[in-house]
């Protein structure tokens, strides 16, 4: 009936009875989803299996380090999904940004120039995606699928199909350096997530994104500049994905056209998991962080238990389905 697909599981049950629902605290609200329970269950399970290892400082740091770049890409994906779109090019954008930084460093440019150029590449890709979606009215799926294809091609061109390496320490420190024995990407991921959370929560543009994602026509009629807001959302996503790509290159000390390509599916999965966490069913940062945590804990925990990586992949899919099903069951029983 409406043009915007409504992702809110709560809409159908708008009965007068809902009136009685008291306002719930943030904690209660967070617990409404099975997703949080799934994360808690996973942590408890792995802790029970390997109490000597799983929750040690070293391992928790490992998990944080392993998910930090995925978390950054997932932040980018969250912003776009708040607006009700999605961006298939985030992982490719991050690869290209990392490749551009790598190519410039290899060509002898300074770290500052390389990083700024790579950020600019991310920003520019986001801008183009935004223009395609918001002003040329392409569907986000088609636009970002097409741009992803071109971006991967561009990354092959930039790297000439090889793996670029031998970057100066000033650059690799961004990804491998430590502060208080915690790797830099962890701090940067936390910082980016916090800034994105604040933007989504406390700024007019953030609230406009939510309004557009909820019902684009109402938003438009309420005087929200829908096109500009969507353009901005894609631009921010491109920028953030670009930063993620720089950190990935710095973390691995190399850049190639395809590195980090699994971040696309994982970022979408993390945001979807996060959408089940809150009542409105909209994409949200807290939820995304939980989604990223589930993916990270799964992979680390199963590695620690020595589970075959093919089995791991099967189990990961099942856990995602289970978490989403669990929360939709809760929604239905309400």
């Amino acid at each position: 009936m409406t043009a915007t697909p409504t992702r809110n599981p709560g809409i159908e049950d708008t009965s007068a009875g809902v009136l009685a629902v008291p306002r719930r605290s943030l904690g209660q609200r967070a617990l409404s989803g099975g997703t949080v329970l799934a994360l808690v269950a996973l942590v408890l399970f792995f802790f029970a299996m390997r109490p000597d290892v799983f929750l040690t400082f070293t391992n928790v740091r490992n998990i944080l380090y392993q998910v930090s770049i995925l978390a950054i890409i997932a932040v980018a994906q969250t912003v776009v999904m708040v607006v009700g779109d999605f961006d298939l090019s985030v992982a490719a954008t991050s690869s290209l940004s990392g490749s551009v930084a790598g190519a410039l460093l290899t060509a002898g440019q300074s770290v500052t120039v390389a990083v700024l150029a790579a950020v600019a590449v991310g920003l520019a890709i986001g801008l183009v995606n935004g223009l395609l979606v918001a002003y040329l009215n392409l569907s986000a799926f088609v636009a970002t699928l097409a741009s992803m294809t071109s971006i991967v091609g561009a990354a092959y061109l930039v790297t000439q199909g090889t793996t670029l390496f031998n970057f100066p320490a000033g650059f690799t420190q961004l990804g491998q350096g430590r502060l208080l024995n915690i790797p830099m990407p962890v701090y940067l991921a936390v910082l980016i997530a916090l800034v994105a959370w604040a933007v989504l929560r406390f700024t007019t543009i953030g609230r406009s994104w939510y309004a557009i994602g909820g019902n684009v026509e109402v938003a438009r009629l309420s005087g929200i500049s829908v096109r500009r807001s969507r353009l901005l959302a894609f631009t921010v996503a491109g920028l953030v994905a670009g930063i993620g790509g720089i950190l990935l290159a710095a973390r691995l000390g190399s850049s190639s056209a395809v590195q980090g390509s699994d971040n696309l599916m994982f970022s979408v999965a993390a945001v979807f998991l996060g959408m089940t966490v809150i009542r409105s069913g909209a994409a949200n940062l807290g939820g995304t962080v939980i989604g990223v945590a589930i993916i990270g804990v799964m992979s680390n925990g199963l590695n620690i238990l020595g589970v075959n990586s093919y089995v791991q992949q099967v189990v990961t899919g099942i856990i995602i389905i289970a978490a989403v099903t669990l929360s939709s069951l809760k929604t239905r029983s309400r």
Binding site: T6, T14, S15, Y210, R220, S222, I224
Partner: protein
């Protein structure tokens, strides 16, 4: 949904020079003078007028297609009029878009487009430009304060942090009214605001609307529910065929008079004369069983219109669905034109046997809204328009042209998407696609649901024409006057069984109603 295409943004108000004759600026909050608008050469509005005073609730009435929604879209800046003028508080204005109209205090609320379900109540009240912020940072505290003020003006105590999607329908309406007030609306246009509300909720809404009226807000109230109009409104304007017919005080009108003015003729002539059925039985059913259907037996003849009534849940729709092969039959026999149909016959086999169904939920079961008239008609006739698996465009054109001509479907061309047509014309498309199969028995479930009075008469006439051509029409209706008016004979169902059978010519609503409740059994 097609209705909300907004012209390009950004929008801004262009206030033309104030009308020179200030004296002509009456005491109206909003005036549309002699407005015309046409689409592709078809006049949607011709000499439309609307003049609303501050502090009144003004009903805008007319059949579907009379031009009410087009007029609303003109006064709210969705469409630019081709001719005529808009006057707001004595000043001639031109709205370049919805936002321009909103800034000038003219706000329309549409039922399905009233709120954003996934965000909080407070934000819904203060969406967009109204959101309190400094340097791009939102002040949640002052947002809550201001939202509370606006809701309290409506006497509503809705938790501000709740998701709007979790509110009851009336609360959602209240939130959208509050948003209109937050934009300082002076002219509030409500389009069918009570469609999804319960009686109690309607009372609640009326209290609020009256108090807004008393504060000086001009309210335009669009509704098909005339009882509500007579209870709530002060004046009314009736439109027909895109033109203004009359504006007068509600106290000086009666419902009957309003209806006949809307329809433009005496509503008594709604139903055509009955015909005479032949002796030839086209369909006979004995001891039919299925979900919600128990031991039903009857037969119908060529040229007969058989009405089937009963309360909701009596099994009347299920009976039709079984006959059409859309629902499983568990026992009993169906004989069409002398041949007994297999128990397992599904829709294609029943169509082959000559039984076609026009379903109740037109928009979800009858037509593909996004597809063209041509494609919709072709869809149900693929076997007839194709040979050896290849579809013939020429044959499609033939049946589409014939259908559109015979049924007088009002559309620009066969390539117009069905979603753009009025409810009545959509129903005709469904009919056209089924009639192209030349059914011996046509089943119709609620043939006139959601169709305006004028087109209803046309549908009844079509049904009668079909019968005259030898088709048997079996029609389910929940409206007793319709059942009696259109049928030759009426069966009433109660809890899956036939509880009564009456000759329509001497049927009486009271008797039918008692059968509906299973109170008498003539059998």
């Amino acid at each position: 949904m097609t209705l909300m295409t907004e012209p390009a943004e950004p929008a801004s108000t262009t206030t033309a020079a104030a009308a020179p004759a200030a004296a002509a600026a009456g005491p109206f909050a909003l005036e549309a003078r002699d407005v015309s608008k046409h689409f592709d050469g078809v006049h949607a509005l011709r000499g439309a007028q609307l003049a609303v005073r501050p502090g009144e609730i003004h009903a805008l009435l007319g059949e579907n297609g009379a031009g009410k929604s087009t007029l609303i879209k003109v006064v709210t800046g969705v469409y630019a009029p081709d001719g005529g003028t808009l006057v707001r508080d004595g000043e001639e204005v031109q709205f370049t878009g919805v936002r321009a109209a909103n800034r000038a205090g003219v706000v329309a609320l549409y039922q399905e487009l009233s709120i954003i379900p996934s965000i909080s109540v407070a934000e819904n009240v203060l969406l967009g430009e109204q959101m309190p912020s400094r340097g791009g940072i939102v002040s949640w505290r002052s947002m809550r304060q201001r939202a509370r003020v606006h809701l309290e003006r409506l006497n509503q105590r809705i938790p501000l942090g709740m998701l709007a999607g979790e509110l009851s329908p009336v609360q959602q309406t209240m939130v959208s009214v509050a948003r209109a007030l937050a934009t300082d609306a002076k002219v509030l246009i409500l389009d069918e605001p009570t469609a999804s509300l319960t009686d109690t909720e309607i009372r609640e809404l009326f209290v609020v609307l009256r108090s807004l009226r008393d504060e000086g807000v001009a309210i335009v109230y669009v509704s098909h529910r005339l009882e509500e109009v007579f209870e709530l409104c002060d004046r009314l304007t009736i439109m027909r065929n895109g033109s203004h017919i009359t504006t007068r005080d509600v106290s000086a009108s009666t419902i009957d008079e309003v209806i006949s003015t809307m329809v433009g003729r005496d509503p008594g002539s709604l139903y055509p004369d009955r015909g005479t059925a032949t002796e030839q039985v086209t369909i006979s059913v004995s001891d039919l069983q299925g979900r919600r259907v128990k031991d039903v037996s009857f037969s119908a003849r060529a040229g007969e219109v058989l009405g089937i009534g009963g309360l909701a849940g009596s099994g009347r729709s299920e009976l039709l669905r079984i006959l059409a092969g859309a629902q499983k039959q568990t026992s009993g026999t169906i004989t069409v034109a002398g041949t007994t149909v297999s128990m397992r016959a599904a829709v294609p086999q029943m169509l082959e046997a000559g039984v076609a169904l026009v379903p109740e939920e037109r928009r979800s079961q009858g037509v593909v809204l996004g597809a063209t008239i041509r494609d919709n008609i072709a869809l149900a006739n693929i076997p007839t328009v194709s040979s050896a698996g290849v579809v013939s465009g020429a044959r499609i054109s033939t049946i589409v042209e014939r259908g559109m001509r015979d049924l007088q479907i009002k559309a620009h061309s066969p390539r117009q998407p069905v979603g753009e047509l009025s409810g009545g014309n959509q129903q005709k498309v469904v009919l056209a696609k089924m009639l192209a199969r030349r059914p011996k028995v046509l089943l119709m479930d609620e043939p006139t649901r959601g169709i305006d009075v004028g087109t209803k008469a046309e549908i009844y006439r079509l049904i009668r024409q079909l019968a005259a051509g030898g088709t048997t029409v079996i029609a389910v209706s929940s409206e007793l006057p319709e059942l009696i008016g259109m049928s030759d004979r009426v069966l009433i169902m109660h809890e899956g069984r036939v509880s009564g059978e009456v000759d329509a010519a001497d049927a009486d609503e009271e008797v039918l109603l008692s059968y509906c409740y299973g109170k008498a059994d003539v059998r």
